[in-house]
Structure formats: structure tokens, C-alpha cells
């Protein structure tokens, strides 16, 4: 346990030393400056557009951060062969993996907090700049929920990066596979809805339909983690569904990490 905490601390520190957080900070500043300008195009819902922009940007930056930093942690160790030194140290492989994972999650958590604080400021001030706004219905509680679930989504992606890293021999493969994973998970709900329509049934061949239905049960439905509309139009969110969603992401992440640990333990270096 001590090793895990130490490793996660080192990973977090490494992330900070990499100037990752500094980069996030710069991006957040750019966000504040650009949001009022971009959203002023809107005719009737300036603050709503601002909020949509900032949440989309938070989710996108988080994605980049997870994929690139997560990929650096293990795949780079293997790529640069520094893994040889690490596995000869008195740390269990499980501890190494979990430690790094927790470190990454902490880094993601801090980044999301920074981004959400800055986007709150941006959206809030955009709302003040355009007081004639008639549809200023942003729900700040849902804003927090949206950011929390962006974080949960990133945790799932981080676990998948780790899984791919444990089987890959180069650092490129986990990167490519995770991006594919993200695309599939993000669009699977729409794809399923499309193949269930009559035009979809006509145009898509039967094997593809079966594959899509199968994929639907394997990949997480990231569309469910999207609370942007709930935030910007103050739609009601039921707490029980939030609980289910949170437990879903917890179970999914744990399963992926366990598989990653198993595959990492079986792996032969040398």
C-alpha cells in the first residue's frame, strides 16, 4: 500500500514537472478569453452557448490529457526499456500498475477542477456581459454533475489506456487503440439507434448489425456521461440514475484494471 501511494505521488509529481498542469492552465486562460467572443454569435442564448463551449472543451482537453499522459506512463516505460529497472525493484507489478493509475487519476482530477473553475468564471461573466439574455437557465448543480461525469469518463479511458499498454510492445499501439475505443464508445448509442430505424435496416448489412449490437454490450456508452444538455437547459437529473451511472463507471474501470493487472503479470520482459 505504501508503495502504491508513493508511486502515485511520484506519477502526479511527474505530471506536474512535465508542465502538463501548466499547459492546462494556459488552455483554461485561452478558454476564458475566447468564450465570450464565440458565444456572442448566438441570438438568444449567449450564456448557454458559452457553457456548451466550455464543457465541450473540458471534455476534449481531458481526453487529450488522458490519452497522451496515460500512454506516457507505462507504454513509454516499456518502449524506453526503463521497465527492466523498475521490475527489478522490490515493488510488485500490481503495485506498480495501480500506483501509476492512481497518480494519473489524481492528475486528471486536478486538471478537471482547474478547467471547471475557469469555465465557471467564463460562463458566469458571459452571462453578466449579456444581461438581456432571456433563456439564462444554466443549472450550476448540473454543471458540477457534468464535470464529475466528464471525470468518470476520463477514468474509464485511462483504464483502457493502461490495458492496451500492458499488451503492447510500442507506445503507438495503445494510443491508436484508445482513440478507436473512444470513438466507438462515444458513437455506439447513435449507431445502435440508426441501425434500428427502417432506413438503417435497409442500408446496413446484417453482419454489421450483429457486430454493432454485440459491441453495444462490450463498450461503455459514453453518451450517457454527457450532461451538457442537462446543464445548459436545466433539465432535471434523477439522483438514482446518477448513482447507477457512477457505479457503472466504477465497475467498468475495476474490471478493465483487473484484466490489465492479469495481463501485466503474465507478461515476460527480457
Amino acid at each position: 500500500m505504501k508503495n502504491v501511494l508513493l508511486l502515485s505521488y511520484i506519477t502526479l509529481k511527474g505530471g506536474i514537472r512535465d508542465r502538463t498542469l501548466f499547459g492546462i492552465f494556459i488552455l483554461a486562460l485561452a478558454l476564458i478569453l475566447s468564450i465570450p467572443l464565440l458565444s456572442s454569435f448566438s441570438m438568444r442564448q449567449v450564456a448557454v452557448v458559452a457553457c456548451d463551449f466550455s464543457l465541450s472543451i473540458a471534455s476534449f482537453i481531458g481526453l487529450l490529457l488522458t490519452i497522451f499522459v496515460g500512454n506516457n506512463l507505462i507504454a513509454k516505460d516499456i518502449d524506453r526499456r526503463s521497465i527492466y529497472t523498475i521490475i527489478s525493484l522490490p515493488i510488485k507489478r500490481t503495485e506498480y500498475l495501480i500506483g501509476k493509475f492512481i497518480g494519473l487519476i489524481l492528475l486528471l482530477f486536478i486538471s478537471i477542477i482547474i478547467l471547471s473553475i475557469f469555465s465557471f468564471i467564463a460562463v458566469y461573466f458571459t452571462g453578466i456581459l449579456y444581461p438581456q439574455e432571456i433563456n439564462f437557465t444554466i443549472s450550476w448543480l448540473n454543471f458540477i454533475i457534468a464535470n464529475i461525469f466528464i471525470f468518470f469518463k476520463l477514468v474509464i479511458i485511462a483504464s483502457v489506456v493502461f490495458l492496451f499498454s500492458t499488451v503492447a510492445t510500442s507506445s503507438f499501439l495503445p494510443l491508436a487503440l484508445t482513440i478507436i475505443f473512444y470513438f466507438v464508445s462515444e458513437s455506439i448509442e447513435e449507431v445502435k439507434a440508426f441501425i434500428e430505424t427502417t432506413t438503417g435496416k435497409e442500408r446496413v448489412s446484417l453482419p454489421v448489425i450483429y457486430v454493432a449490437k454485440f459491441v453495444f454490450y462490450i463498450f461503455p456508452n459514453f453518451e450517457a456521461f454527457n450532461f451538457k444538455q442537462h446543464t445548459i437547459y436545466s433539465l432535471s437529473v434523477s439522483p438514482i440514475n446518477l448513482f447507477y451511472l457512477a457505479s457503472f463507471s466504477l465497475f467498468y474501470t475495476s474490471i478493465i484494471i483487473i484484466i490489465a493487472i492479469l495481463s501485466f503479470q503474465k507478461r515476460e520482459f527480457i
Partner: protein, 284 residues
Amino acid sequence: MSSLKSYSYIMILLLLITGYTFSFQQVKLYRERFKRKESVHYLPQIEILNILSLDYKGLVSKLLFFKTLVYYGEHMDSRIMPDWKWIYQALNASTILDPYNIDSYYFTQAVLTWDANLIKETNLILERGEKYRAWDFYIPFFMGFNYFYFLKDNKNAALHFDRAARINPTLIDYAIRFHYKANEIPIAISILKKMYDDIKNEDIRSQIMQRINAYENAFILEKAVRQYEDKFHELPEPIEKLIEEGILSQIPQDPYGGKYYFDKKENIIKTTSNFRMMKKNESN
């Protein structure tokens, strides 16, 4: 020796910069010529767009709206007819991606009806908005307006004003008037009676009662006119013929001080007061 080497690097760099400047100019010209040709505003199929937008559907929806806005603005400036079909498709896609996006609905109503005369298409888009933005009375109000003004369909207009009035009760007057216009006087009366029961303020209640009376009288006349029509296969003109033929014992009084008459063109009972309090000089 080393200074010679660095000089040659600078020379190469200068040459490259010259080459770069030239090619940059060419690319710029090519793009400008390409853009002038117009009609390259390609829009992917909506199903594909929906899938490819991933987590950024709201953002894509808003960007599509901005693009349409700029496209429309450019054409209005240069007085070239924009491609209305494209505008319709873009706004339709924008509202499918984010069915709550009021900007797109608003713009659809503003542009596709007045300028493009695509009324049915506008109402198709607005129907989506009505389903999602259940708290927003503007959308059924717009639809009611389109039915009334462009499509001359008072019945559907009344239906949509009714829905708008359910969200914003100040619009109830529109709903009632359109039900009346659509020859659905009993519906108008029943809405008024419900209002009468709901409202506590005595002044307003007496005003509503006055209107109920006016409409009920109109309805009595309406029924009598239909009876006359069945019997004699023509319309009672003037309306006093109803008394001569013994269908009514007297013509009911308009509580607003006007006089009831039958409007042949709209096939409806009207009153000179138009169901409003008449000014002194108007009644003479």
C-alpha cells in the same frame, strides 16, 4: 571556415523563404478562386453527422447555426439569392443534433418563412422544438402564427395557440379568438368557462363572463343560421330574417354594444364590436 558555413546556411534559408513566399501566394490565390465559385457548402448526411459528432453534438449544432447565419448574412449583403434548401437542411441538422437549440428554431422561423416561404418545412423543424422545449411558449406560438398567417389554417392555429397559452396564460386570448375564427365556438366558450372557474379576481371574472355571454349569443345565432341554411338553402341576409321565419324570437344583444352580423366570406358570425369594449363614438 565556420563563418563561411553559417553564411551558406543563411543563403539557403533566404532562398527557402523566397520559395515559401511564392508558394504561399499561389495557395492563397487558389483558395480565393476556389471559394468564389460558391456552392461548396457541403453538408454530410444527418445520420453520419450525428454519429461523427461524438461528444460534441451541442457544439456542432451551434457551429452549424453560426455557419448558416454567416452564409445568410453574406447573401443578404450581396443580394444574391441564397440556397434555401441548404439553409433548411443545415437548420434541420442543427436542431437534430441539439433539439433544445433555441437559436436555430428562432432563425428558422425568422428566415425560412418570410424569405424562403418554406412554411411546412419550418413547422416540421418547430415541431421538434415543441417536443423538447416543453417549457417554451415561443415555439407553439410561432407555429400557430405560421398556420394562421401563411397557411390560412385557423383550426391548427387555434390548436397551437392553445398549447402556447397552456405555458404562458397571457396568450389565452389568442387561443380563444382563433377557436372562434375556426368556427369552434364551443371550444372557445369552454376555455373561457375554465378560466372563469380558475380565476379569483372578481373584476376579471366579470370581464370573462361578458365574453362568455358574447360568444354564447354568437353561438345561438350560428346554430340558427345553420338551421335556416338547411331549410331554405341560402343564408339569412340580413340576419333579421331569422326572426321573420320564426327560427329565433329575437336577435341576441352583443354585451360589448356591437351588432351581430353574418360574414359570408369567412362563413362566420361576427359582431361590429369585434368582441371588444366599444368607444362611445364607435357604437353610433
